[in-house]
Symmetry: C2
Subunit: 415 residues, 2 copies
Amino acid sequence: MAQRPRGTRDFLPDEMERRRHYEGVLRRRAETFGFREISTPIFEETELFVARSGPNIVEELYAFEDKGGRGISLRPELTAPAIRLYVNGMSNDPKPVKAFYFGQCFRYERPQSGRYREFFQFGAELIGGSGPESDAEVIALAAAMVRDLGLKNYKVRLGHIGVLRDRLASVGIPGDGMAEILQKLDKKAFDEARPILESRGVGDADIESIFGLVSTVGGPEVLSAVPGEIGEYMGRVLALLDAMGVGDVEVDLGVVRGLDYYTGIVFEMEAPALGAEKQICGGGSYALAEVFGGEPVFTTGFAIGFDRILLAMEKEGLEHPRKALRAYIVPVSDDVRVEAARIVASLRDAGISADIDLMDRKMGRALKHASSVGAEKAVIVGAKELSQGVATVRDMESGEQSEVPLDCLVDHFLS
Amino acid sequence: MAQRPRGTRDFLPDEMERRRHYEGVLRRRAETFGFREISTPIFEETELFVARSGPNIVEELYAFEDKGGRGISLRPELTAPAIRLYVNGMSNDPKPVKAFYFGQCFRYERPQSGRYREFFQFGAELIGGSGPESDAEVIALAAAMVRDLGLKNYKVRLGHIGVLRDRLASVGIPGDGMAEILQKLDKKAFDEARPILESRGVGDADIESIFGLVSTVGGPEVLSAVPGEIGEYMGRVLALLDAMGVGDVEVDLGVVRGLDYYTGIVFEMEAPALGAEKQICGGGSYALAEVFGGEPVFTTGFAIGFDRILLAMEKEGLEHPRKALRAYIVPVSDDVRVEAARIVASLRDAGISADIDLMDRKMGRALKHASSVGAEKAVIVGAKELSQGVATVRDMESGEQSEVPLDCLVDHFLS
């Protein structure tokens, strides 16, 4: 029997209705913030992802060659394509450009709980803004989205990549030697970071102070550990966020994010219920446009792991509103089928969702089917009733029946 | 500079808004018909598409091998995945299963006008129904969708694959010899069909009669050329369609469709404005579940070429309703930025789309930007006004300004 490829998923109607509902929640929230949707192809030149993430990314890509011998890959993330699109087609637009996107990404790895080879990301970029106002705008959007979804148990953590970079520079680590150390610090792998720092001649006291910085977590008061411009900047972001209703932000100077191109604030959101895979959103301000051949431009963005956040919501037992089928038409005999078709069409034309028995079911089984597809009401169309210009409408929950004139049927459902 | 792959497209905000609007129109129409959305992966095992379309399809596929050596292809169409999903996961659901889907498909061919390597299809399947009622239900949905989109100039053409099959059988063509001939007849390539028919010993008179059948086009009256069950069946479909408001169907006995697995009615919709690439929808009833290892089941479905139908609509000059940005907040000075952030958040929380100047623009330039992003009103936040508990609201069209108390601002936009 034909099977779907490993690590991918099919979505059946109930699940798909749930996903579309929450996608709509995210979309509407982004729109109220003045962000507008863009869309890029499912695959890009492999080069693009290597330029963003380094050559190791290739191992995780669905990469292939096209017939012209060009390296092509299914996109593993949406930030690089979005910035590529900005450089290609939006760089002359009035600033800031505020764009969001939603779609499939692909990662070639062993499938495991909450991680799929095909997965969905929702993301947003604010390009060409500047300063704490732009950063706060983007973080506020991410926080408002998660709040709108209805998730209760989550945290926003805010850091600044400059804190550790400045500190490492002050103990003599050159810019191009930082990436390796930052990656260890990002994972709080102090045992692995220590020998590297020692080999660079950093003394014990400085090492402990660096580890202390990485472990600094708390309210706005911990910004006292960050004197100067960066501390002021972060304080300003926190004040703006507070004004926008995002008051519960944790300052975490250990938020580093894995990638080189972050330049300023970095933030993450997590849902503790998810355990080891608890991160549901990650972002920050970064310089990527110039990597793709564009002019340098201040950019802040984030990506939300749509599948993972849905999983967190499932663990909290969140229910979405279901779309009900309003009417189920039951033609009692074969000679009324054409009239029944006319009736179902009149309801549908008025925007009322209506289904009709297509299986020649007898009354009892037809009503049972109407129930199983969740119809609110059955409209029973019989020859005798038709001749009197009426149909019988049955409330599927109460079982109550009444005769409704055919020319009032649409109104019956609209009122 | 990084480029997008050949034959693919980026969608900028205006175009994306248009596409999402019309996608929503199709989606809502499918839902009023009681169809529910399903979704399948972007790629499938190559086998699946070969089983549906024959080995020649491989040349047109973005095909690659995964690390396990399995042949994988980006989907070139959505019918095979939908039926694969039905066989895998929905075959025990109450019948009929009514499913729709929308998404990207991929075809490795030379890019040309209206044809892309990445393109979008909207489709629907009614699985496990039976008879003319089910066929009419599906055709009525396709027609209602195109009508809802607002396209004016289009045609629905209805045929039945049995007409030609029966006729060919009657002149001695065996079932497995029909495909080649049907393909020629589908393209009205009579010059190429004639020698094949002659080589099978079909006489001139029969050949002319077959060509005549293929060329039979008209209203319900041409069904007189189709005596017996098939003619009756088609008449019934036409009567049901008429009752459902789809009265302008052309009977066209030359509609054959390219593929072997069609079993009964076949239909096409076309937008003549598109010239040679005028087909915007194709469908019919077919037997595909058993090809994928499932039980045989009556199925009728169709696919709409979303890009092509949008192109037809563009040619007719159709405009979609634009989403307006309701408010653009202009902080007059730096010291009111936190209060301005509070104000923009209060509007957004009430579902009102609101943007805020992030560029420290001076008043004149900020208002110009508000205009260029299409804001309905500007909300000017100054220190003096704030101290009086008001903001200045400017209608961007009329230029009229008025002071609105801050605690009435949300109501001002909602009323």
